[in-house]
Assembly symmetry: C2
């Protein structure tokens, strides 16, 4: 009496049709891995060649998609948004360039050329291009390992251009080869921890500007920074500190206003520019320099000079420039793409991550030729752009034009900006980035994620920016691997009066079927979890046998629900074969329920289907249970010698 | 009209009870990660303290479990098996010690102490302890980087003892801290590829012994080895080659006999010993050395001297000894545990991987103090042990006693063994390890696994043993990560006349529900796959809307079947929230079906349950479909202004 007799009543059977060909599966796997968003679906069915060509050009250069439809009505909005972000770009540009130990003018250069490039290649309508604080500090901390910005500022500058060049190449390559998948490995928790850590460090570093100190440590860990501040108490300048606190209070107040009344966003957007103008005027008229308040110093007129001749490929420095280029590029991508995506979601637009990478890459590549350093889509600027009502990437063009005018005519005036103003602006911006509330939320929901977040935070503030990022990234990957290595396997029971089977631990009302053990395997079966799956199945069997002693029903059948097994590899197939054999040696029948297509294909190719028998594979748990029950009844009848009813 | 009205007919509801406490989940996670086999389950419920203590001792020292029940009847079997494997141990020991560039006597030492240690700590009843070829070559290739065995044999020997010491520490620590999970990451395909590659290289290296060459390259890649053989054609000795071919043919013939008649296993088990004896006699009587057939040379009498004073912790060599210790230890564990497990499965025994690691670790630790080098449970010896009918680890003790007698009395006689005999023995053993049939099977079933296998094989033969192993390991992990990053998401349809919903691509007969899109998410939702999941859902929606134009039913509801989602992290929750919001902005209702416990807990902690609404979470797809249908009908009625039937 085989288990198959009960199959007669079953309406639907398992699909045993031939496995797909190798080329089909490879094509589909490659597509899902590298083209998950199916970017060409929109013009795959275009009939005419001309329209196809147009669509292709529009795909690669999004500017051709929106520019033809662009009109004055949209321009009104973009003009306003562009001017607003230009006002933010000047103080931020100068401040962040100081963070990266670069001449302040580079911050202004970086808000001129890159936004124009982004307007051509970028697909986001909200991103405002600019430099970011965390990447600036990370860049500085890596390049400082090779050469000190103080001792050899020219070489340092050239190495920064070279690092930006590598960033561009790296980002472009990632996008071109559709490796957006790599950026997916920066998890939310890592980013929260890293950003908060970077913000903490940057805030503390601003104490230098606040107290008007001239010597400072190039290191970025909290111990070095605090030691540097508190060993120089005799150099503290009270004038500077007082001015700094005033500016900071003003900036934080405007932020508070924005929080209370979001429509007044422009107050906080203009505040940094106002601070800079007040600072400049005060410094100019009071000769601040002589009163212990250092200023930015000389800023030359004129737009970006070429820097292509400065790229330095000396093998001695290559390890540093490549490392800096890749790490900052990675970070900038993660921030830029995450932000583009968030704003696109609000507006119901689509963002193509790989296309954004190409745009960022082009932007930094051209930037490295035109005296710019690392740019991306910073959160603060993009949020202001969005609040100011931008409609297209034209707002970036407006900003670039504003910057050009500033560079051509009034740049030298900003040379009077007191450093303490910049410090206050940076501090005000950074305080908002220490996301303790988000960290607490993570703590509440997921403790392991909290560990990842805190390892990034503590790593950044106590060790260094790159080490913190790496540790956190490593922990995230270990977590993903543990999740692969320890898939949940649960014991199912029947929900009374239904054909549903659910985890007994989750639904205590679910009833076990006497003599039948139903196990649900819930993830791909891979080399990494084979041993575990084997152990866990045997533990369930032991557990079942030790608890079922009371009502004296031994297990006769085991149903493995493999509906959740989405893939299986060679080691998995070997394990499954062994497990099936060893269970059957104990006189227990094993049946499979609901194999998925990928798994079914492998089972057929490896001849495991023949080993198990096609009769022992069912489409649903319910079918399998019915068959087992039927089999149990018939074997009992056989046991008592009553064979008459045996032919169903 | 909300979707909830239809819930009235539902028998079972989703379990919204409070999430488990943090300590409960952590405890269960830690247990599943580090104690997946629940080793203490057997004596958890023991009532008396004495019995508990006994069981604990028996757990840590398995010898106390089997020795008390041991009697003469079992000993008969073990005696025979022990003598058989001792006969194999002598030629194998000498040969593999030569492979590791070590004095041949070390091979004999290594078959004396370690088997005794294993008999105390080991839990496998089948393993026969000894050295293995692949690890011997790997060990030699790493230590040779630090010091040449030819130029400074004493230092080389001491470094090998030190590496063995580290192997012991490493294996013991892995077992003690229950990190057996690490060994799980060596997949079947990696092992097949690596072993075949190592066997190929070792075979080619034997051409040295076959042709009686004295100079040879220390490198292990195929190009260096072949160059070394063919640039010395003028040194080839025909006498040696002739003898070698004869021995090889004899050994292969005995293997063939065993394959045809498994009961004659003893012929192939004794063959190497016979070859050695014949070789010794021939060499002794014909003065082989003078006829161009080099012999092993002086072997001193006496058992293992202490080597604890030779352990060398010079920082200059530490990187090499540690690397060699860890890599060979890892490889030896993988082979030993895999083999113990296979034989245990045949006999229906249980093997505790972590306990085996502790046993291997102790064995190598003590071995490094007593002039032994790396030992494990080699496949060939274990298979012979099993065929010879071993019953317990006592067969290892018998082997050890035999080795002791040999060491004390007749070891010097083996000094006459011609090297060509050893080469023939190694070649015969290695030819059986090149698993081309298995590789073809892998190729047929899983192309990616085949790539992993071939990368190990080609890496080993063209680059070096450790690089090959690392590349293959890296590829396996990349595969696991890609599988995490690209989970399958399928579109489900109803199987007619049932409540089952299946993948439409797998079961083309499954019917779509008009106006309802059912998507099945099939794996944990993690930072690594969030972007993909988002893209894939939006692609399914576009696809559905573009194909449903014909019958003009737009999608009104999306059912996300998250029954296969076994875990979710913070990034995943953020993604899900965004996706739900953006879908609802399009006027489409989203409902969830069958959340698992872990996921439900996270959804509740993050307040996502409130955002979705408890009414929109169903226990099964069928319940969800019913509710959606009901909702569709009611909204249509509302559309035509017929409100009379609306109160169900």
């Amino acid at each position: 009496m085989t288990i198959s007799a009960a199959r007669e009543n079953v309406i639907h059977k398992v699909n045993f049709s031939n496995p797909r060909s190798f080329s089909t599966t490879v094509k589909s796997d490659l597509k899902e891995t590298f083209f998950p968003d199916d970017p060409f679906r929109q013009f795959k069915n275009e009939p005419s060649t001309f329209r196809k060509a147009t669509k292709t050009v529009q795909y690669f250069l999004p500017v051709f998609e929106w520019l033809p439809k662009y009109g004055f009505k949209l321009f009104q909005y973009d003009l306003l948004a562009g001017i607003t972000i230009a006002c933010l770009a000047v103080p931020q540009g100068i401040s962040y360039a100081k963070l990266a130990n670069l001449p302040p003018i580079l911050g202004l250069y970086s808000s001129f050329i890159p936004p124009l490039i982004y307007a051509i290649f970028g697909s986001s309508k909200d991103i405002a291009v600019g430099t970011i604080a965390s990447a600036s500090v990370l860049l500085a901390s890596i390049i400082e390992e090779a050469v000190s910005a103080k001792d050899d500022p020219t070489l340092y500058l050239h190495l920064v251009f070279t690092a930006t060049f590598f960033t561009g190449i790296f980002q472009f390559a990632l996008g071109f080869f559709r490796l957006g998948i790599l950026v997916d490995f920066l998890s939310h928790s890592t980013i929260v921890g890293f950003m908060s850590g970077a913000a903490t460090i940057i805030c503390l570093q601003q104490l230098k500007g606040m107290f008007g100190l001239t010597h400072f440590t190039p290191k970025t860990d909290v111990v070095s920074v605090l030691r540097s501040v508190f060993t120089q108490t005799h150099h503290w300048r009270w004038q500077s500190a007082l001015a700094g606190v005033c500016f900071l209070v003003f900036l934080l107040a405007t932020k508070h206003v924005k929080k209370k009344k979001p429509s007044l966003y422009w107050i906080s957007a203009l505040a940094p520019m106002v601070t800079v103008v007040i600072g400049c005027l005060a410094a100019y008229f009071c000769h601040a320099e002589k009163h212990g308040i250092p200023i930015v110093g000389h800023l030359s007129k004129g737009i970006n000079p070429s820097s292509i001749q400065f790229l330095n490929f000396d093998p001695k420095y290559l390890p540093y420039t490549i490392k800096a280029g890749i790490m900052t590029g990675f970070l900038a991508l993660a921030e830029g793409i995450a932000i583009a995506r968030s704003f696109a979601t609000i507006k119901n637009n689509q963002i193509d991550g790989n296309k954004e990478m190409v745009a960022f890459g082009m932007m930094n590549l051209v930037g490295s030729f035109t005296s710019c350093y690392l740019t991306t889509g910073p959160f603060s600027k993009t949020a202001v752009n969005y609040s100011a009502g931008c409609k297209t990437a034209m707002s970036n063009v407006v900003m670039a034009v504003c910057m050009m005018l500033i560079l051509l005519f009034i740049a030298p005036l900003f040379g009077y900006t007191p450093l303490v103003t910049l410090s206050a602006i940076i501090m005000a911006a950074m305080l908002g980035l220490i996301e303790y509330e988000e960290a607490y939320h993570i703590y509440k929901v997921d403790k392991y994620d909290f560990c990842i977040c805190m390892s990034a935070y503590l790593g950044v503030i106590f060790l260094s920016m790159d080490v913190g990022l790496m540790i956190s990234l490593g922990l995230s990957i270990v977590r993903a691997l543990i999740c692969v290595a320890r898939p949940p396997i649960s014991n199912l029971g029947n929900m009374s009066n239904t054909q549903m089977y659910r985890d007994i631990e989750q639904y205590p009302s679910a009833e076990k079927i006497p003599g039948v053990l139903i196990l649900q395997l819930g993830s791909p079966i891979y080399f990494a979890n084979c041993t575990y799956v084997r152990e866990r199945i045997s533990r369930w069997m032991d557990h079942e046998q030790s608890t079922s002693d009371s009502n004296s029903t031994d297990i006769d059948h085991i149903i493995l629900d493999i509906g959740g097994v989405t893939a299986i590899d060679m080691t998995g197939i070997g394990m499954l074969t062994e497990v099936l054999k060893s269970i059957e040696r104990k006189g227990i029948n094993v049946v499979l329920a609901n194999p998925k297509r990928e798994v079914m294909e492998k089972l057929m190719l490896s001849n495991l289907v023949e080993t198990i028998g096609k009769d022992s594979i069912f489409l649903s748990i319910n079918d399998a249970v019915e068959a087992c029950r039927f089999n149990l009844r018939s074997s009992k009848k056989q046991d008592v010698g009553d064979d008459t009813d045996n032919v169903v």
